[in-house]
């Protein structure tokens, strides 16, 4: 699955939060530099876990995660913090600091990681907020912004230090159609204008296909079932790919959670 000039490589990774349940089952993916790559899959298939492994939040049970060829070691905080300074992550619900204003949220990484003077910080923050269309919202408290706006503030914060890799965790979840379109456009525009590598984890097929260059589809068993350009996946005849892309309720991915036979549960005799 290796493609040209990968920025992030996930190499035969197996991972589970405990020994009884494997979340990622021998997963190998690579994310090409400067491209928008989507990881698609249903809820609980391990998409967010994959982002956490890239960020070094957890160590893989086996296999390797590499960023520009450097193996991510989740036990080495010094290395992790050095790598994380090159990453930006948009959390599913923004994870904004509720005690700080919109401006201060975006200024936060700049204040922590740089010695820039106040004038420079102000200019950078307003530029980032302008990029997400929220320059006017700078003085607002987090409690005063809507869910869609909060996601954009979080995006401005994620790009404050011009990261080389931006990871988006469910950027479209819970957004109205207008906010969803705005978010999708922003991801594409920011990727193209900053030259960053973008990684979008989502279950929203249509929105992802409009902006991504490449996509991986993951199954509920934590495996990669298909990958390719959006048009290739759309044309796929694989039943699992077709079911996910068309949103069919039943198919290779069962509608019902495994259970005893219906007749047995309701005491019906044959």
């Amino acid at each position: 699955m290796t493609r040209a000039d990968p920025f992030v490589e996930i190499d035969h990774v197996i991972f589970g939060y405990d020994a009884s349940r494997t979340i990622l089952n021998d997963v190998s993916l690579s994310f090409e530099r400067g491209r928008v790559t989507a990881i698609l899959g249903g809820s609980g298939c391990g998409k967010t876990t994959l982002l956490r492994l890239i960020g070094g939040v957890f160590p893989a049970t086996s296999g390797q995660v590499r960023i520009e060829g450097e193996v991510v070691d989740a036990t080495n905080r010094e290395q992790l913090f050095r790598l994380r300074r090159r990453l930006g992550m948009l959390f599913q619900f923004g994870a904004l600091f509720t005690d700080l204003s919109v401006f201060e949220n975006v200024a936060f990484p700049l204040r922590e990681h740089t010695d820039l003077d106040e004038t420079m910080i102000r200019d950078i923050v307003l530029m980032k907020l302008n990029a997400v269309g929220l320059r006017g919202a700078a003085p607002l408290a987090i409690s005063e912004v809507s869910g869609g706006m909060a996601r954009r503030v979080a995006l401005a914060r994620a790009i404050a230090l011009d990261p080389e890799l931006i990871m988006y965790d469910e950027p479209f979840a819970g957004l109205d159609p207008i906010s969803m379109g705005v978010a999708a456009n922003l991801i594409r525009t920011l990727n193209d204008s900053t030259g960053a590598t973008s990684l979008v984890v989502s279950h929203d097929v249509q929105e992802c296909f409009t902006i991504c260059d490449y996509a991986y589809l993951m199954s509920s068993q934590g495996r990669v079932v298909a990958h390719g350009r959006p048009e290739e996946l759309s044309a796929s005849e694989d039943p699992e790919v077709r079911q996910f892309i068309r949103g069919e309720p039943d198919g290779p991915v069962r509608f019902h959670y495994p259970a005893r036979p219906l007749a047995e549960d309701f005491g019906i005799r044959a």
Binding site: G55, V57, R77, L80, F81, R82, R84, R85, L87, M89, F91, Q92, F93, A95, L96, F97, T98, F108, P109, E112, H113
Partner: protein, 260 residues
Amino acid sequence: MAALITPLGRKTLGLLRVLGHHATFFADLVRNMPSVVRRPYLAVAQVHAIGNLSLLIIVASGLAVGFVLALQMYYALSRYGAAESLGLVVNLSLVRELGPVVSALLFAGRAGTSLTAEIGLMKAGEQLAAMDMMAIDPRSRVLAPRFIGGIVSMPILAIMFSAIGILGAYVVAVLLIGVDAGNFWSIMQSGVDVWRDVGNGIVKSIVFGVICTFVALYQGYETQATPEGVAHATTKTVVISSLAILAMDFVLTALMFSTT
């Protein structure tokens, strides 16, 4: 035999694991304390949030304790013709025991729960995870300033509790009951040793400040990131802090005042 030893061994290992986890967390807090030197305003803000905002309950409780202590001691001492010792008894009770202990118990209820809930909700809202992903250590940015804020605030609150308590006792003893004011203050002045009594009381309150703030931060940081988890953690903060304060008070009293 193995059936008896196995669960015992498992429980012992579990206990050691918990103790080790607490010790590591405490060491992490101490290790991150110097980072606040770079951003002292964070600790100052916490002294305000933890200390200043606890003043009302400390002052009200100190006053009430001073009132009641003066009344009870007057009734007890006057029975033996020793009412003139009232000022000394009230003062020693407050600076040695009641000031540090009651203010620490109030601190655990007021500031400790607030810290646990705040950190727990930051964890539930992924704010701590976001900070960590930005290569900013939440233990240095969030926990260490709060730890310092708690340790600084606690003795100040205990001193204020004792001072207000003595004033409350003065109001009841001198202004209401009619104990001689000169006697009330002079016996206090001659009978209380600044270093031995007041100093040890302050040392106690610093130790209680460390305990309360550590417990509150640990419970918040290690909480399950759910509403039930945060509720459970805040309850545990009060229960564990209170028991630890009472147990440590006994130990410290035995160590500090065992020769009198």
